[in-house]
């Protein structure tokens, strides 16, 4: 956990530096006490300071952890495996969601929703059967009809139709 804090602390430090450096190119109106760069500079410096505190806290606690026994390290490595295992599905979910957005953009919400439903079913249940797949397609179709009539027709909401079909 401390290593993760260290990494995130470094990321925030990087972001704060990036924003701070970017403010150098901002114009400075002569009559104003605080120009467009003033507020972001204060915010980026404050974020940078807190990121540094997080980094030093993580380094200090990592050093303390080093003193722990080998058995403890072994236990921790086991824990780390579980952590990596837990993130597998969310990362796959992120990829599927990214694909869903592309499908919505190019092919519209009908193809997008059906494909997304099928991919999610496979991610969540790798031992899927044809019966389950058929059920998924039926569920997706019901959802598409509901979305079309409820949001598209009743509430006049824009639904993505896809650039291919436009």
């Amino acid at each position: 956990m401390k290593i993760k804090d260290l990494v995130i602390g470094c990321l925030f430090l990087f972001i704060s530096c990036l924003f701070f450096i970017a403010t150098f190119s901002f114009p400075t109106p002569p009559v104003q006490a605080a120009g467009p760069a003033f507020w972001p500079q204060i915010m980026s410096i404050t974020l940078g300071v807190f990121a540094l505190v997080l980094i030093s806290k993580s380094i200090y606690e990592l050093k303390k952890e080093k003193k722990a026994s080998i058995i403890k390290i072994k236990k921790n490595s086991k824990k780390r495996d579980t952590v990596t295992e837990g993130i597998k599905r969310p990362v796959m979910g992120m990829m599927a969601t990214g694909l869903f957005i592309s499908l919505l953009h190019y092919f519209g919400f009908i193809i997008g929703i059906v494909t997304y439903f099928i991919i999610i079913t496979i991610i969540l249940n790798p031992k899927y059967s044809w019966k389950r797949l058929t059920l998924t397609i039926i569920q997706a179709s019901i959802l598409i009809i509901t979305i079309y009539f409820l949001f598209g027709e009743f509430l006049n909401i824009n639904l993505p139709t896809g650039i291919v079909f436009n």
């Binding site: 956990m1 993760k4 804090d5 995130i8 925030f12 972001i15 704060s16 924003f19 970017a22 403010t23 901002f26 114009p27 109106p29 104003q32 006490a33 605080a34 467009p36 003033f38 507020w39 972001p40 915010m43 980026s44 404050t46 974020l47 807190f50 990121a51 505190v53 997080l54 806290k57 837990g86 993130i87 599905r89 969310p90 796959m92 979910g93 992120m94 969601t97 990214g98 869903f100 957005i101 919505l104 953009h105 919400f109 929703i113 997304y116 439903f117 999610i120 079913t121 969540l124 249940n125 569920q139 959802l143 979305i147 949001f151 509430l155 006049n156 909401i157 824009n158 639904l159 993505p160």
Partner: protein, 496 residues
């Protein structure tokens, strides 16, 4: 539009339909552990874009009410609070269910929620115009101090780590500077991306932070299911003797809940625990609390639903959201072209009055739904996560797209979702980011405008009495959080 007319507007069939849908939907979402009213509202806001302001807002208010109450159903039946606000309800609600009195516990929970919600709505109706007319005197200096006070909420909602909460808040404040400067027309931090000229729009950012993040979290444990026992509810309506005993608790807890709800950074969980503690302190048999006392359920539920009216007061009158739900509701008002703050009460009473009466009607619908359908809601809440994941994902992304028909907004929601997921996974709270995105532009613009007015002197913030009071309150609220935290650490060390 006077209050009577507003009530008639809310009672029109279509408005009644939307508010009922909101309440019922809110109860179901609230009953599902892990899903909150914040998520439900952020999912539905974009779909209210094409609606008139009154039905749109009363539906969202309905979700808010239903969502807070819904958490008590699973708290009583399966020992798992659906929302953090129902955590204190578990203490006596679940033992009552185990004694075969689940019906009684559910009945008292919904009656208490109704009384708490209605009393807080009445207080809100009377207090809001007074506060808003006072706030009309605010200049940029007062607005900056007020925004600063609102930002101190970050400290109190950073449950586990103040450092991580502060970093989240500062990150949100930095992101709020992206886009065109409000005073000098200059595009900041766009890094060559045209769609960033208008900055990060609030709505997709909120959808990403609360809904997309939740979808990714659900992916971690998709097999978790809620097992609701099959029981027949008996004695849902309390007897007259029980009611007489509970009336003082209902009233006191409602007042506690309303007061705590109006304080930025508190919320339903704090209100319910304080109220529960107070009921226990005043009881003749405090030792029986935790073993199935109806007073415990009544105190907790009246207080957590009373938070709804209380929390709406600063949001509507000053434009300062006190927590994540009101931050999202503020986004809902903005999308309808309404700017929360004192001017709202001068220019849009045609929306404000129906909103007030809508809150009372929502509480009545919640009472009826809770008395007659608690078990049904519990059954619906046991919906499989495998189906819930694609549903929430599709609704959230289509929602981000719907408001302006923009794929850039969908990508922003997705981006915020990924960032939110990784930050949340590592203990960084997300509500500070949302609050900072909303309050950041108010704070910056009013700070710089005040400096222009004072020709660069910061004394303007300390010489104006109201501004000085808000600055003092900001310092005080930070100090209280730090002292409370240090006392907790000290006690922990002492116990070890």
């Amino acid at each position: 539009m006077d209050f009577g007319m507003a009530l008639l507007t809310v009672l029109r069939p279509l408005n009644l339909f939307f508010i009922t849908i909101g309440v019922l939907g809110g109860i179901v979402v609230g009953a599902i552990p892990g899903l909150t009213a914040t998520l439900a509202i952020s999912l539905l806001i974009p779909f209210t874009f094409g609606m008139d302001p009154v039905p749109a807002l009363i539906m969202l208010i309905g979700i808010y009410c239903g969502g807070i109450y819904g958490g008590s159903i699973t708290a009583i039946l399966i020992h798992t609070p659906g929302t953090p606000g129902a955590a204190a309800t578990v203490l006596d609600g679940y033992p009552l269910a185990q004694q075969g009195k689940a019906g009684k516990a559910l009945g008292i929970a919904v009656i208490a929620s109704f009384i708490g919600g209605t009393i807080s709505a009445v207080i809100m109706i009377f207090l809001s115009p007074i506060i808003s007319s006072w706030a009309l005197k605010f200049s940029s200096a007062e607005y900056f101090s007020l925004a600063l006070f609102g930002l101190t909420v970050i400290f109190s909602i950073s449950e586990k780590s103040i450092l991580k909460g502060t970093i989240s808040g500062m990150f949100g404040l930095l992101l709020s500077t992206v886009g065109l400067d409000y005073i000098v027309p200059y595009a900041r931090f766009t890094f060559g991306i045209d769609s960033l000229i208008i900055g990060f729009p609030i709505l997709p950012a909120i959808i990403g932070l609360f809904a997309v993040t939740e979808v990714l979290r659900l992916f971690e444990k998709p097999d978790e299911t809620i097992e609701v026992p099959k029981i027949r509810l008996k004695g849902v309506i309390p007897t007259w003797d029980e009611t007489k005993k509970l009336i003082p608790i209902y009233l006191k807890s409602s007042l506690i809940g309303t007061f705590i709800g109006a304080l930025p950074g508190t919320g339903a969980n704090i209100a319910s625990f304080i109220s529960y503690g107070e009921a226990r302190r005043c009881s003749k048999t405090p030792e029986n609390f935790g073993t199935g006392m109806i007073e415990g359920v009544a105190a907790s539920e009246a207080a957590n639903n009373a938070v709804t009216g209380g929390a709406l007061i600063p949001m509507l009158t000053l434009g300062i959201p006190g927590d994540a739900v009101t931050a999202v509701l503020l986004g809902a008002l903005t999308i309808q072209g309404l700017q929360p703050g004192p001017l709202l009460f001068r220019e849009h009473m045609d929306v404000i009055n129906p909103l007030f009466s809508g809150l009372i009607v929502a509480n009545i619908i919640m009472l009826l739904a809770g008395l007659f359908g608690a078990m049904l809601f519990a059954r619906i809440a046991s919906l499989k996560r495998r189906l819930l994941i694609p549903l929430v994902a599709i609704f959230s992304l289509l929602g981000a797209f719907a408001a302006e028909g923009s794929f850039a907004h969908m990508l922003i929601a997705f981006g915020f979702g990924i960032v939110g997921y990784f930050l949340n996974r590592n203990g960084f709270p997300l509500a500070p980011i949302a609050l900072s995105l909303i309050l950041g532009p108010i704070a910056e613009t009013s700070f710089r405008t005040a400096l222009i007015r004072s020709q660069g002197s910061i004394s303007i913030f300390f010489t104006r009495p109201i501004s000085l009071v808000f600055i003092a309150l900001s310092i005080l609220s930070v100090l209280i959080v730090l002292i409370r935290r240090n006392v907790k650490i000290f006690k922990k060390k002492k116990n070890n």
